[in-house]
Amino acid sequence: MKKNINLEVNIAGLSLKNPVIAASGTFGFGREYSKFFDLNLLGGISVKGLTLKPRKGNPPPRIAETPGGILNSVGLQNPGVHAFIENEIPFLRQYNTAIIANASGNTVEEYVEMTEILSDADIDAIELNLSCPNVKEGCMTFGSSSRGVLEVVNKVKKVARKPLIVKLTPNVTDIVEIAKAAEDAGADAVSLINTLLGMAIDVKTRRPILANITGGLSGPCVKPIALRMVYQVSQSVKIPVIGMGGISNGIDAVEFFLAGASAVMVGTAGFVNPMAWVETVEGIKEYMTENGIEDVKELTGGLIAD
Protein backbone atom coordinates (compact mmCIF):
# COMPACT_ATOMS: atom_id res chain seq x y z
CA MET A 1 0.00 0.00 0.00
CA LYS A 2 2.87 2.38 0.66
CA LYS A 3 3.39 4.55 -2.34
CA ASN A 4 6.68 5.72 -3.61
CA ILE A 5 7.20 9.32 -2.71
CA ASN A 6 9.19 11.54 -5.00
CA LEU A 7 10.71 14.57 -3.33
CA GLU A 8 13.07 15.56 -6.12
CA VAL A 9 12.73 18.96 -7.63
CA ASN A 10 14.61 20.71 -10.35
CA ILE A 11 14.85 24.44 -10.07
CA ALA A 12 16.20 26.10 -13.14
CA GLY A 13 18.91 23.53 -13.68
CA LEU A 14 19.58 23.08 -9.99
CA SER A 15 18.49 19.62 -9.05
CA LEU A 16 17.64 18.94 -5.43
CA LYS A 17 17.01 15.56 -3.89
CA ASN A 18 14.33 17.15 -1.77
CA PRO A 19 12.86 20.63 -1.65
CA VAL A 20 14.22 21.67 1.76
CA ILE A 21 17.19 24.01 1.82
CA ALA A 22 18.92 25.56 4.80
CA ALA A 23 18.40 29.34 4.62
CA SER A 24 21.42 31.56 4.24
CA GLY A 25 22.90 32.97 7.43
CA THR A 26 21.23 30.51 9.73
CA PHE A 27 23.33 27.49 8.90
CA GLY A 28 26.86 28.86 8.65
CA PHE A 29 28.76 26.66 6.23
CA GLY A 30 27.12 23.54 7.56
CA ARG A 31 29.83 22.47 9.97
CA GLU A 32 27.96 23.13 13.19
CA TYR A 33 24.71 21.41 12.29
CA SER A 34 26.58 18.46 10.81
CA LYS A 35 27.05 17.42 14.43
CA PHE A 36 23.27 17.21 14.83
CA PHE A 37 22.26 15.39 11.69
CA ASP A 38 23.53 14.02 8.42
CA LEU A 39 23.75 16.87 5.92
CA ASN A 40 23.00 14.36 3.18
CA LEU A 41 19.39 14.60 4.32
CA LEU A 42 19.07 18.17 3.05
CA GLY A 43 18.05 19.22 -0.44
CA GLY A 44 20.59 21.98 -0.29
CA ILE A 45 22.43 24.49 1.82
CA SER A 46 22.48 28.19 1.15
CA VAL A 47 25.64 29.24 2.89
CA LYS A 48 26.22 32.30 5.04
CA GLY A 49 26.00 35.46 2.93
CA LEU A 50 29.32 36.06 1.18
CA THR A 51 30.98 39.27 0.13
CA LEU A 52 34.00 39.86 -2.05
CA LYS A 53 36.21 40.82 0.87
CA PRO A 54 35.90 39.49 4.42
CA ARG A 55 33.41 41.46 6.51
CA LYS A 56 33.34 41.91 10.24
CA GLY A 57 29.64 42.68 10.47
CA ASN A 58 27.82 44.83 13.01
CA PRO A 59 28.55 45.25 16.72
CA PRO A 60 26.66 43.09 19.24
CA PRO A 61 24.00 42.63 20.50
CA ARG A 62 22.92 41.29 17.16
CA ILE A 63 19.77 39.45 18.15
CA ALA A 64 16.54 40.27 19.94
CA GLU A 65 13.59 38.05 20.60
CA THR A 66 10.23 39.43 19.54
CA PRO A 67 6.73 37.94 19.73
CA GLY A 68 6.92 34.77 17.64
CA GLY A 69 10.22 35.65 16.04
CA ILE A 70 13.60 37.27 16.21
CA LEU A 71 15.43 40.30 14.93
CA ASN A 72 19.02 39.93 13.78
CA SER A 73 21.58 42.47 12.74
CA VAL A 74 24.59 40.31 11.92
CA GLY A 75 25.43 42.50 8.96
CA LEU A 76 27.00 39.87 6.74
CA GLN A 77 29.96 38.85 8.86
CA ASN A 78 31.81 36.40 6.61
CA PRO A 79 35.31 35.38 5.60
CA GLY A 80 34.93 36.56 2.02
CA VAL A 81 34.27 34.57 -1.11
CA HIS A 82 37.86 33.38 -1.54
CA ALA A 83 38.13 31.91 1.93
CA PHE A 84 34.76 30.28 1.36
CA ILE A 85 35.97 28.58 -1.77
CA GLU A 86 39.19 27.49 -0.17
CA ASN A 87 38.03 26.40 3.26
CA GLU A 88 34.35 25.62 3.10
CA ILE A 89 33.52 24.07 -0.26
CA PRO A 90 35.77 21.03 0.33
CA PHE A 91 33.94 20.37 3.59
CA LEU A 92 30.51 20.78 2.03
CA ARG A 93 31.36 18.69 -1.01
CA GLN A 94 31.76 15.66 1.23
CA TYR A 95 28.00 15.61 1.32
CA ASN A 96 25.51 14.89 -1.39
CA THR A 97 23.56 18.12 -1.04
CA ALA A 98 23.38 21.17 -3.26
CA ILE A 99 25.67 24.07 -2.38
CA ILE A 100 24.13 27.44 -2.95
CA ALA A 101 26.43 30.43 -2.60
CA ASN A 102 24.60 33.44 -1.20
CA ALA A 103 26.33 36.57 -2.48
CA SER A 104 26.09 40.26 -1.61
CA GLY A 105 27.88 43.24 -3.06
CA ASN A 106 28.32 46.90 -2.31
CA THR A 107 28.28 47.82 -5.98
CA VAL A 108 27.10 46.31 -9.23
CA GLU A 109 30.70 45.62 -10.09
CA GLU A 110 31.16 43.63 -6.91
CA TYR A 111 28.09 41.53 -7.69
CA VAL A 112 29.49 40.84 -11.13
CA GLU A 113 32.95 40.00 -9.84
CA MET A 114 31.60 37.63 -7.22
CA THR A 115 29.44 35.92 -9.78
CA GLU A 116 32.45 35.38 -12.00
CA ILE A 117 34.44 33.95 -9.13
CA LEU A 118 31.60 31.73 -7.95
CA SER A 119 30.89 30.53 -11.48
CA ASP A 120 34.31 28.96 -11.45
CA ALA A 121 33.84 27.43 -8.03
CA ASP A 122 32.50 23.99 -7.27
CA ILE A 123 29.03 25.07 -6.23
CA ASP A 124 25.58 24.31 -7.60
CA ALA A 125 23.87 27.67 -7.73
CA ILE A 126 24.29 31.32 -6.85
CA GLU A 127 21.73 33.12 -4.70
CA LEU A 128 22.07 36.82 -5.27
CA ASN A 129 21.20 38.57 -2.03
CA LEU A 130 19.56 41.83 -3.04
CA SER A 131 17.84 42.11 0.26
CA CYS A 132 19.98 42.27 3.37
CA PRO A 133 18.49 44.95 5.62
CA ASN A 134 21.52 45.06 7.89
CA VAL A 135 24.18 46.69 5.77
CA LYS A 136 24.13 50.28 4.69
CA GLU A 137 25.67 49.93 1.26
CA GLY A 138 24.34 48.12 -1.81
CA CYS A 139 22.10 45.16 -1.27
CA MET A 140 18.76 46.54 -0.05
CA THR A 141 19.22 49.62 -2.19
CA PHE A 142 19.40 47.49 -5.30
CA GLY A 143 16.70 45.13 -4.14
CA SER A 144 14.04 47.70 -3.30
CA SER A 145 13.44 49.00 -6.78
CA SER A 146 12.78 47.17 -10.00
CA ARG A 147 15.28 49.44 -11.68
CA GLY A 148 17.99 48.39 -9.23
CA VAL A 149 17.14 44.71 -9.61
CA LEU A 150 17.08 44.96 -13.39
CA GLU A 151 20.46 46.61 -13.45
CA VAL A 152 22.26 44.19 -11.13
CA VAL A 153 20.67 41.00 -12.40
CA ASN A 154 21.18 41.96 -16.04
CA LYS A 155 24.89 42.47 -15.58
CA VAL A 156 25.32 39.45 -13.32
CA LYS A 157 23.43 37.18 -15.69
CA LYS A 158 25.89 37.96 -18.46
CA VAL A 159 28.72 36.35 -16.52
CA ALA A 160 26.84 33.72 -14.52
CA ARG A 161 27.63 30.16 -15.40
CA LYS A 162 25.58 28.67 -12.59
CA PRO A 163 21.83 28.73 -12.00
CA LEU A 164 21.03 32.20 -10.72
CA ILE A 165 18.56 32.64 -7.88
CA VAL A 166 17.64 36.19 -6.93
CA LYS A 167 16.68 36.69 -3.29
CA LEU A 168 14.05 39.35 -2.75
CA THR A 169 13.37 41.68 0.14
CA PRO A 170 9.85 41.91 1.56
CA ASN A 171 10.39 45.56 2.48
CA VAL A 172 8.79 46.85 -0.69
CA THR A 173 5.48 48.20 -1.88
CA ASP A 174 5.11 45.75 -4.72
CA ILE A 175 7.13 42.56 -4.60
CA VAL A 176 5.55 41.32 -7.83
CA GLU A 177 7.05 44.17 -9.76
CA ILE A 178 10.49 43.40 -8.29
CA ALA A 179 10.18 39.69 -9.02
CA LYS A 180 9.19 40.44 -12.59
CA ALA A 181 12.22 42.67 -12.97
CA ALA A 182 14.42 39.80 -11.77
CA GLU A 183 12.75 37.46 -14.23
CA ASP A 184 13.07 39.92 -17.09
CA ALA A 185 16.73 40.39 -16.31
CA GLY A 186 17.32 36.67 -16.59
CA ALA A 187 17.06 35.25 -13.09
CA ASP A 188 16.56 31.49 -13.18
CA ALA A 189 14.57 31.54 -9.96
CA VAL A 190 13.63 33.90 -7.15
CA SER A 191 13.80 33.18 -3.45
CA LEU A 192 11.77 35.07 -0.89
CA ILE A 193 11.45 36.45 1.69
CA ASN A 194 14.51 37.88 3.31
CA THR A 195 13.90 39.54 6.68
CA LEU A 196 11.53 42.44 7.42
CA LEU A 197 13.13 45.52 8.83
CA GLY A 198 12.20 45.86 12.49
CA MET A 199 13.30 47.16 15.84
CA ALA A 200 13.12 46.28 19.53
CA ILE A 201 13.48 48.58 22.52
CA ASP A 202 14.41 47.89 26.13
CA VAL A 203 12.34 50.24 28.29
CA LYS A 204 14.65 49.68 31.25
CA THR A 205 17.70 51.10 29.50
CA ARG A 206 15.63 53.14 26.99
CA ARG A 207 17.93 51.85 24.28
CA PRO A 208 17.38 49.74 21.20
CA ILE A 209 18.20 46.11 22.00
CA LEU A 210 20.28 45.78 18.85
CA ALA A 211 23.48 47.81 18.69
CA ASN A 212 22.61 48.46 15.06
CA ILE A 213 19.24 49.92 16.20
CA THR A 214 17.26 48.07 13.52
CA GLY A 215 17.44 44.47 12.41
CA GLY A 216 15.76 41.89 10.24
CA LEU A 217 12.66 40.07 11.46
CA SER A 218 12.31 36.34 10.82
CA GLY A 219 10.65 33.32 12.35
CA PRO A 220 7.03 32.14 12.65
CA CYS A 221 5.65 35.67 13.02
CA VAL A 222 6.52 36.56 9.40
CA LYS A 223 4.94 33.48 7.84
CA PRO A 224 1.66 35.12 6.79
CA ILE A 225 3.53 37.89 5.00
CA ALA A 226 5.92 35.47 3.33
CA LEU A 227 3.09 33.20 2.20
CA ARG A 228 1.23 36.11 0.69
CA MET A 229 4.30 37.28 -1.18
CA VAL A 230 5.12 33.80 -2.47
CA TYR A 231 1.52 33.48 -3.62
CA GLN A 232 1.53 36.83 -5.40
CA VAL A 233 4.92 36.32 -7.02
CA SER A 234 4.32 32.77 -8.17
CA GLN A 235 1.11 33.91 -9.86
CA SER A 236 3.06 36.50 -11.82
CA VAL A 237 6.37 34.98 -12.87
CA LYS A 238 7.15 31.82 -14.82
CA ILE A 239 10.45 31.05 -13.12
CA PRO A 240 10.42 28.86 -10.01
CA VAL A 241 9.90 30.42 -6.61
CA ILE A 242 11.75 29.29 -3.50
CA GLY A 243 9.67 30.18 -0.48
CA MET A 244 10.77 30.95 3.04
CA GLY A 245 9.87 32.94 6.11
CA GLY A 246 8.83 31.28 9.35
CA ILE A 247 8.80 27.68 8.17
CA SER A 248 9.19 25.34 11.15
CA ASN A 249 7.84 22.02 9.94
CA GLY A 250 6.39 20.04 7.07
CA ILE A 251 2.94 21.58 7.31
CA ASP A 252 4.38 25.08 7.02
CA ALA A 253 6.37 23.94 3.99
CA VAL A 254 3.28 22.47 2.36
CA GLU A 255 1.54 25.82 2.80
CA PHE A 256 4.34 27.43 0.79
CA PHE A 257 4.13 24.76 -1.91
CA LEU A 258 0.38 25.28 -2.21
CA ALA A 259 0.99 29.03 -2.45
CA GLY A 260 3.30 28.38 -5.38
CA ALA A 261 6.79 27.56 -4.10
CA SER A 262 8.84 24.84 -5.80
CA ALA A 263 11.19 24.50 -2.85
CA VAL A 264 11.52 26.03 0.60
CA MET A 265 14.22 27.29 2.88
CA VAL A 266 14.19 26.94 6.65
CA GLY A 267 16.16 29.27 8.88
CA THR A 268 15.23 30.65 12.28
CA ALA A 269 13.26 27.58 13.33
CA GLY A 270 16.54 25.65 13.42
CA PHE A 271 17.83 27.80 16.27
CA VAL A 272 14.99 26.57 18.42
CA ASN A 273 14.88 23.05 17.07
CA PRO A 274 18.16 21.97 15.48
CA MET A 275 16.27 19.11 13.83
CA ALA A 276 13.83 21.51 12.13
CA TRP A 277 15.44 21.04 8.71
CA VAL A 278 15.19 17.27 8.66
CA GLU A 279 11.84 17.25 10.42
CA THR A 280 10.54 19.51 7.66
CA VAL A 281 11.58 16.92 5.07
CA GLU A 282 9.91 14.19 7.13
CA GLY A 283 6.78 16.27 7.64
CA ILE A 284 6.39 16.88 3.92
CA LYS A 285 6.66 13.14 3.31
CA GLU A 286 4.06 12.44 5.96
CA TYR A 287 1.62 14.93 4.49
CA MET A 288 2.12 13.43 1.06
CA THR A 289 1.58 9.89 2.32
CA GLU A 290 -1.56 10.87 4.19
CA ASN A 291 -2.93 12.68 1.19
CA GLY A 292 -1.90 10.20 -1.45
CA ILE A 293 0.46 12.54 -3.23
CA GLU A 294 3.35 10.87 -4.98
CA ASP A 295 5.30 13.77 -6.34
CA VAL A 296 5.99 16.88 -4.32
CA LYS A 297 5.78 18.92 -7.52
CA GLU A 298 2.05 18.25 -7.56
CA LEU A 299 1.71 20.42 -4.49
CA THR A 300 3.27 23.50 -6.05
CA GLY A 301 0.57 26.05 -6.77
CA GLY A 302 -2.10 23.62 -5.62
CA LEU A 303 -4.03 26.22 -3.65
CA ILE A 304 -7.75 26.12 -4.32
CA ALA A 305 -8.76 29.76 -4.37
CA ASP A 306 -12.08 30.50 -5.98
Binding site: F27, F36, P60, R62, Q77
Partner: protein
Amino acid sequence: MRSFATVKKTRQLNHDTFLLCLKSEKIASCAEAGQFVNLKCCDGLDAYLRRPISIHSVNRECNTFDIVFQVRGKGTSLLSRIRPGDEIDVIGPLGRGFTLDHSHRHIVVAGGGIGIFPLFQLLKDHTAAKKTAVLGFRSKDFVVLEDEFKKHSTELLIATDDGSYGIKGFVTDVLEKIIQKEKPDMVYFCGPEVMMKTGVKLLQKYNIPCEVSLEQRMGCGIGACLVCVCKTRKDNDWDYSRICADGPVFKGEDIIFD
Protein backbone atom coordinates in the same frame (compact mmCIF):
# COMPACT_ATOMS: atom_id res chain seq x y z
CA MET B 1 23.83 17.03 21.63
CA ARG B 2 20.13 17.66 21.98
CA SER B 3 18.40 15.73 24.69
CA PHE B 4 15.47 15.83 27.02
CA ALA B 5 16.67 16.14 30.56
CA THR B 6 14.46 15.19 33.46
CA VAL B 7 14.22 17.62 36.34
CA LYS B 8 15.30 15.73 39.45
CA LYS B 9 15.20 18.54 41.97
CA THR B 10 14.41 22.22 42.15
CA ARG B 11 15.64 24.55 44.84
CA GLN B 12 14.89 28.22 45.32
CA LEU B 13 18.07 29.87 46.61
CA ASN B 14 16.71 33.33 47.24
CA HIS B 15 13.91 35.59 46.06
CA ASP B 16 14.91 35.31 42.41
CA THR B 17 17.52 32.60 42.11
CA PHE B 18 16.75 28.97 41.39
CA LEU B 19 18.73 25.78 41.12
CA LEU B 20 17.61 22.93 38.89
CA CYS B 21 19.17 19.50 39.04
CA LEU B 22 18.78 17.83 35.66
CA LYS B 23 19.36 14.24 34.68
CA SER B 24 21.06 13.66 31.37
CA GLU B 25 23.78 11.10 30.87
CA LYS B 26 24.80 12.69 27.59
CA ILE B 27 25.51 15.98 29.24
CA ALA B 28 26.77 14.89 32.65
CA SER B 29 29.23 12.44 31.15
CA CYS B 30 31.20 14.99 29.22
CA ALA B 31 30.41 18.47 30.56
CA GLU B 32 33.39 20.59 31.50
CA ALA B 33 33.59 23.52 33.88
CA GLY B 34 32.66 26.73 32.06
CA GLN B 35 30.50 25.13 29.43
CA PHE B 36 26.82 25.91 29.12
CA VAL B 37 23.57 24.42 27.95
CA ASN B 38 21.01 26.05 25.69
CA LEU B 39 17.52 25.20 26.78
CA LYS B 40 13.87 25.76 25.89
CA CYS B 41 12.07 27.39 28.80
CA CYS B 42 8.67 26.34 27.41
CA ASP B 43 7.04 24.81 24.38
CA GLY B 44 5.77 27.13 21.73
CA LEU B 45 6.18 30.80 21.00
CA ASP B 46 6.47 32.36 24.44
CA ALA B 47 10.20 32.65 25.10
CA TYR B 48 10.69 31.37 21.57
CA LEU B 49 14.47 31.15 21.57
CA ARG B 50 16.49 28.85 23.75
CA ARG B 51 18.22 30.41 26.74
CA PRO B 52 21.89 29.82 27.51
CA ILE B 53 22.62 28.84 31.12
CA SER B 54 25.98 27.78 32.49
CA ILE B 55 26.61 24.39 33.94
CA HIS B 56 27.03 25.05 37.64
CA SER B 57 27.92 21.61 38.87
CA VAL B 58 28.20 18.11 37.45
CA ASN B 59 27.55 14.89 39.27
CA ARG B 60 29.08 12.25 37.04
CA GLU B 61 28.03 9.34 39.26
CA CYS B 62 24.36 10.27 39.20
CA ASN B 63 24.40 11.48 35.60
CA THR B 64 23.02 14.80 36.71
CA PHE B 65 24.09 18.39 36.43
CA ASP B 66 22.89 21.54 38.14
CA ILE B 67 22.12 24.90 36.68
CA VAL B 68 21.48 28.02 38.70
CA PHE B 69 19.70 31.00 37.28
CA GLN B 70 18.26 34.33 38.19
CA VAL B 71 14.80 35.31 37.00
CA ARG B 72 15.34 38.12 34.52
CA GLY B 73 12.51 38.00 32.04
CA LYS B 74 9.98 35.77 30.38
CA GLY B 75 12.22 32.78 29.82
CA THR B 76 13.79 32.47 33.23
CA SER B 77 10.43 33.18 34.82
CA LEU B 78 8.90 30.22 32.98
CA LEU B 79 11.92 28.14 33.93
CA SER B 80 11.43 28.93 37.59
CA ARG B 81 8.01 27.28 37.45
CA ILE B 82 9.35 23.94 36.26
CA ARG B 83 8.73 21.05 38.65
CA PRO B 84 10.54 17.82 39.44
CA GLY B 85 9.57 15.19 36.90
CA ASP B 86 9.18 17.68 34.06
CA GLU B 87 11.36 17.34 31.00
CA ILE B 88 13.46 20.10 29.52
CA ASP B 89 14.70 20.24 25.95
CA VAL B 90 18.41 20.92 26.34
CA ILE B 91 21.28 21.29 23.92
CA GLY B 92 24.68 20.82 25.44
CA PRO B 93 27.28 20.80 26.74
CA LEU B 94 28.24 23.75 24.57
CA GLY B 95 31.20 26.03 24.15
CA ARG B 96 34.77 26.09 25.31
CA GLY B 97 35.10 25.85 29.08
CA PHE B 98 37.86 26.95 31.43
CA THR B 99 41.42 25.73 30.94
CA LEU B 100 42.60 23.80 33.97
CA ASP B 101 46.35 23.67 34.40
CA HIS B 102 46.93 21.28 37.25
CA SER B 103 50.51 22.42 37.66
CA HIS B 104 49.03 25.64 39.09
CA ARG B 105 49.21 25.77 42.84
CA HIS B 106 47.14 28.83 43.57
CA ILE B 107 44.16 29.84 41.54
CA VAL B 108 41.57 32.51 42.14
CA VAL B 109 38.04 32.51 40.82
CA ALA B 110 36.44 35.91 40.76
CA GLY B 111 32.72 36.11 40.03
CA GLY B 112 29.96 38.61 40.25
CA GLY B 113 26.18 38.11 40.17
CA ILE B 114 25.10 35.28 37.91
CA GLY B 115 28.76 34.95 36.93
CA ILE B 116 29.57 32.96 40.03
CA PHE B 117 27.69 29.85 38.92
CA PRO B 118 30.03 28.46 36.23
CA LEU B 119 32.99 28.96 38.59
CA PHE B 120 31.68 26.32 40.95
CA GLN B 121 32.48 23.26 38.86
CA LEU B 122 35.87 24.78 38.13
CA LEU B 123 36.64 24.87 41.84
CA LYS B 124 35.46 21.30 42.13
CA ASP B 125 37.60 20.09 39.26
CA HIS B 126 40.80 21.98 39.89
CA THR B 127 43.54 20.24 41.85
CA ALA B 128 45.43 23.36 42.95
CA ALA B 129 46.42 23.32 46.59
CA LYS B 130 45.08 26.80 47.10
CA LYS B 131 41.79 27.86 45.59
CA THR B 132 40.55 31.28 46.49
CA ALA B 133 37.02 32.32 45.58
CA VAL B 134 36.01 35.97 45.50
CA LEU B 135 32.33 36.38 44.94
CA GLY B 136 30.54 39.68 44.54
CA PHE B 137 26.89 40.34 45.17
CA ARG B 138 24.72 43.41 45.08
CA SER B 139 23.81 43.07 48.75
CA LYS B 140 23.25 40.55 51.50
CA ASP B 141 19.92 39.44 50.05
CA PHE B 142 21.61 38.28 46.90
CA VAL B 143 24.24 36.07 48.52
CA VAL B 144 23.71 32.44 47.53
CA LEU B 145 25.53 29.11 47.73
CA GLU B 146 28.02 30.35 50.32
CA ASP B 147 28.43 26.99 52.01
CA GLU B 148 28.84 25.17 48.73
CA PHE B 149 31.56 27.51 47.55
CA LYS B 150 33.26 27.34 50.92
CA LYS B 151 33.39 23.59 50.68
CA HIS B 152 35.27 23.63 47.41
CA SER B 153 37.65 26.51 48.00
CA THR B 154 40.44 27.00 50.47
CA GLU B 155 39.41 30.59 51.00
CA LEU B 156 36.08 32.28 50.28
CA LEU B 157 35.75 36.05 50.25
CA ILE B 158 32.43 37.69 49.72
CA ALA B 159 32.06 41.28 48.64
CA THR B 160 28.86 43.26 48.47
CA ASP B 161 28.36 46.57 46.73
CA ASP B 162 26.77 48.08 49.83
CA GLY B 163 28.78 46.27 52.46
CA SER B 164 25.67 44.60 53.86
CA TYR B 165 27.58 41.32 53.90
CA GLY B 166 31.26 40.43 53.76
CA ILE B 167 33.63 43.06 52.44
CA LYS B 168 32.24 46.30 51.11
CA GLY B 169 33.49 46.92 47.60
CA PHE B 170 34.13 45.39 44.27
CA VAL B 171 35.43 41.93 43.52
CA THR B 172 38.41 43.46 41.72
CA ASP B 173 39.38 45.50 44.79
CA VAL B 174 39.41 42.36 46.90
CA LEU B 175 41.34 40.60 44.17
CA GLU B 176 44.04 43.27 44.13
CA LYS B 177 44.55 42.86 47.87
CA ILE B 178 44.95 39.11 47.41
CA ILE B 179 47.48 39.61 44.67
CA GLN B 180 49.44 42.08 46.76
CA LYS B 181 49.70 39.45 49.47
CA GLU B 182 50.49 36.54 47.18
CA LYS B 183 50.50 36.32 43.41
CA PRO B 184 48.22 33.51 42.21
CA ASP B 185 49.14 31.41 39.17
CA MET B 186 45.88 31.97 37.41
CA VAL B 187 42.64 33.91 37.79
CA TYR B 188 39.25 33.02 36.33
CA PHE B 189 36.64 35.73 35.86
CA CYS B 190 32.95 35.55 35.27
CA GLY B 191 30.57 38.40 35.86
CA PRO B 192 29.49 41.80 34.62
CA GLU B 193 31.54 43.13 31.72
CA VAL B 194 32.85 46.07 33.71
CA MET B 195 34.20 43.75 36.39
CA MET B 196 36.00 41.63 33.86
CA LYS B 197 37.38 44.63 32.03
CA THR B 198 38.83 46.04 35.24
CA GLY B 199 39.99 42.60 36.27
CA VAL B 200 41.86 41.84 33.07
CA LYS B 201 43.60 45.21 33.22
CA LEU B 202 44.59 44.59 36.82
CA LEU B 203 46.08 41.19 36.07
CA GLN B 204 48.01 42.53 33.13
CA LYS B 205 49.57 45.01 35.53
CA TYR B 206 50.67 42.11 37.72
CA ASN B 207 51.42 39.89 34.76
CA ILE B 208 49.13 37.08 35.85
CA PRO B 209 47.31 34.98 33.24
CA CYS B 210 43.55 34.92 33.36
CA GLU B 211 40.46 33.62 31.63
CA VAL B 212 37.11 35.34 31.33
CA SER B 213 33.72 33.89 30.62
CA LEU B 214 31.57 36.18 28.49
CA GLU B 215 27.86 36.53 27.85
CA GLN B 216 25.89 37.75 24.91
CA ARG B 217 22.39 37.27 23.57
CA MET B 218 22.38 34.09 21.51
CA GLY B 219 20.56 32.53 18.59
CA CYS B 220 21.70 29.05 17.64
CA GLY B 221 24.12 28.63 20.56
CA ILE B 222 26.40 26.41 18.49
CA GLY B 223 28.35 28.77 16.26
CA ALA B 224 26.26 28.86 13.10
CA CYS B 225 24.40 32.18 13.18
CA LEU B 226 27.10 34.63 14.27
CA VAL B 227 24.90 36.73 16.52
CA CYS B 228 26.75 36.23 19.81
CA VAL B 229 30.04 37.88 19.06
CA CYS B 230 32.67 39.71 21.08
CA LYS B 231 35.73 41.61 19.90
CA THR B 232 38.94 39.62 20.05
CA ARG B 233 42.50 40.48 19.11
CA LYS B 234 43.80 38.96 15.90
CA ASP B 235 47.29 39.68 14.70
CA ASN B 236 47.47 43.47 14.63
CA ASP B 237 43.79 43.82 14.01
CA TRP B 238 40.66 42.55 15.69
CA ASP B 239 37.88 40.20 14.78
CA TYR B 240 34.50 39.13 16.06
CA SER B 241 34.58 35.74 17.79
CA ARG B 242 31.53 33.69 18.61
CA ILE B 243 30.95 33.51 22.34
CA CYS B 244 28.94 30.30 22.02
CA ALA B 245 31.53 28.35 20.07
CA ASP B 246 34.89 30.11 20.42
CA GLY B 247 33.98 30.90 24.03
CA PRO B 248 32.26 31.53 26.37
CA VAL B 249 35.68 31.28 28.04
CA PHE B 250 38.48 33.30 26.47
CA LYS B 251 41.98 34.23 27.52
CA GLY B 252 41.75 37.59 29.21
CA GLU B 253 44.35 39.11 26.94
CA ASP B 254 42.42 38.11 23.80
CA ILE B 255 39.35 40.15 24.56
CA ILE B 256 38.91 43.76 23.53
CA PHE B 257 36.53 45.39 25.96
CA ASP B 258 34.85 48.52 24.62
